[in-house]
């Protein structure tokens, strides 16, 4: 299995802050891995994701994705990363359709001076269909419900056919039915296409069967990084062993 992500002694500090949001992170992920990053609020989970895709420059250490330094080749690397940010809601008056949003996710990969062609449009619609939002393609994004917007954002991340998926609380706004359907769709996609997937959540009840590793974070540090095996204690138990507050 090829190495997709390598973080060595990584620290990330927000501008104007003295205390790093994540500290001394050492993490590597290989192709086909399905990792859950769990932890309470302010554990540094989102910072970790945005350090991996290079949106936040690390204040110390090295971050390599697809074998490339994200500080130097961040944009090239991000073309192959599907990213869903946390709680991203579009205002009702915004003049963008759901299809616009999904297509936009592909723009970096399409490259400068080239327009999305029929194939790109078909890919976007096909991905939206697989998430059940293709009928909303021409509706203004801001008029959709929170759950529908969440699905559109997931479609946006998937339509570009990424090699790495970074999903930050991707199921938080979904209704009960979608909470069953969408995660299992992502799980199936992972199985079929072998996309390395990292999902950040504070909901320990959401772990998918495809998940083969769990990283628990607290106070900006990884406190455990477990390959899931049959004898791995259930997550709630892990939390209790580590004396970390059980979120959710």
């Amino acid at each position: 299995m090829g190495e997709i992500i390598r973080l060595e002694n990584v620290y990330t500090t927000y501008e104007g802050e003295k205390r790093p949001a994540i500290r001394n992170i050492n993490l590597s992920a290989h192709s086909n891995e399905f990792i859950y990053v769990v932890g309470p609020n302010a554990a540094g989970k989102t910072t970790l994701l945005e350090t991996i895709n290079g949106l936040l420059p690390p204040s110390g250490g090295r971050v390599h994705v697809f074998g490339q330094d994200v500080r130097k080749n961040g944009r090239k690397v991000r073309c192959d990363i599907g990213y869903v940010p946390q709680d991203f809601i579009v205002d009702p008056g915004e003049p963008y359709t759901a299809l616009d949003i999904v297509l936009m996710g592909m723009y970096g990969k399409i490259g400068i001076l080239r327009r999305p062609d029929r194939r790109d449009f078909n890919k976007a619609i096909e991905t939206m269909r697989s998430l059940g939002v293709d009928k909303l393609a021409n509706q203004p994004m801001g008029k959709l419900s929170g759950g529908q917007q969440q699905k559109v954002m997931i479609a946006r991340a998937l339509a570009k056919e990424p090699k790495l998926l970074l999903l930050d609380e991707p199921f938080s706004n979904l209704d009960i039915d979608s909470r069953q359907r969408i995660p299992s769709f992502i799980g199936r996609l992972h199985e079929e296409k072998g996309i390395t997937t990292i999902i950040v959540t504070h909901d320990v009840g959401q772990i998918l069967k495809q998940c083969n590793r769990v990283v628990i974070m607290n106070n900006g540090e990884t406190i455990t990084d477990e390959k899931l095996a049959e004898d791995t204690p259930p997550l709630k138990e892990l939390y209790q062993i580590l004396r970390v507050e059980v979120p959710g």
Partner: protein, 277 residues
């Protein structure tokens, strides 16, 4: 309307249409990229430059262009390099440009507020020269070509800059390009509206168009038309009531914006539930 046959009035009319189209078009990008405060800085930078030109008895257009370019350089790449937040840099540059403008105006007391200085402050249809129209046409063509070429990148940045970066788009050059272009457009439209009011032309048509359309392509099409119509209407109001043209254009465009807010279908839809799952 016999005065429409006068060359000076024809130039003013064409100038109004071109400036309205340009500011209306560019305004959409300035508003949606949340560069409004930078727009104030650019317009006052051009104003300070024009005031210096008047004081030094050189073409105010040249000095306005130099000043707005320097302002663009400071609020764009220099602020980024120094990691200064947009609010901080614009809060520094805006009063600085105003202070410089008033210093330069006091350096030319012999002209007072009755001639060129007044043109720079409030705008004047009489000051539109043939070469102004040539520059406006040229920059209009260049702007349209560049927006057409880089539409998809600009579109993604207007939606959300951070997400555009997350998808692998290099957003900085496009932001700098819009800031610089705003400086050029403001400079070229300065004679018409004046340095104190020019930024209203960047924001009002775009904000008006945003009240109506749910599609960004329509907004980019409609906003320049609103800009041109309000500029021409302001010109006529100014001629009939013998008031400063810049003030009339801004008053008309503000009235149009107020009407748009009142009759916006987007506001009427308030309360309609989201599409059912």
């Amino acid at each position: 309307m016999i005065w429409l046959e006068l060359a000076i009035m024809q130039r003013a009319l064409i100038g109004c249409i071109l400036a309205g189209l340009l500011t209306g078009l560019l305004g959409v990008f300035v508003v949606k990229m949340k560069l409004s405060s930078m727009g104030y800085c650019m317009s006052h930078g051009a104003f300070a430059g024009a005031a210096l030109g008047v004081a030094m008895a050189v073409n105010p257009l040249t000095t306005a262009f130099i000043f707005s370019s320097i302002t663009a350089f400071f609020i764009g790449p220099v602020a980024d390099k120094a990691r200064l937040h947009a609010d901080v840099i614009t809060s520094i540059i805006f009063p600085l440009n105003m202070a410089l403008a008033f210093v330069f105006l006091t350096l030319s007391p012999e002209v007072g507020l009755k001639s060129e200085v007044a043109n720079v402050l409030w705008g004047s249809v009489l000051s539109i020269a043939y070469y102004d129209l040539v520059y406006l046409t040229l920059i209009c063509t260049i702007t349209l070509a560049l927006i057409f070429l880089f539409w998809k990148e600009l579109f993604a940045i207007m939606f959300e800059r951070k997400l555009a970066e997350a998808d692998g788009i290099n957003t900085k050059p496009f932001i700098y390009f819009i800031i610089f272009l705003a400086g050029v457009v403001v400079t070229l439209s300065l004679k018409l509206v004046g340095g104190l009011l020019i930024f209203a032309l960047l924001f009002n048509p775009a904000s008006t168009a945003l009240q109506f359309a749910n599609n960004m392509k329509k907004i980019v099409f409609v906003s320049p038309i609103i800009g041109a119509i309000t500029c021409v209407s302001g010109l006529f109001v100014s001629l009939f009531l013998d008031l400063p043209v810049g003030s009339c254009i801004v008053l008309v465009s503000t009235l149009v914006f107020a009407l748009a807010v009142l009759f916006s279908p987007k506001r009427r839809r308030k309360g309609v539930p989201a599409y059912a799952d």
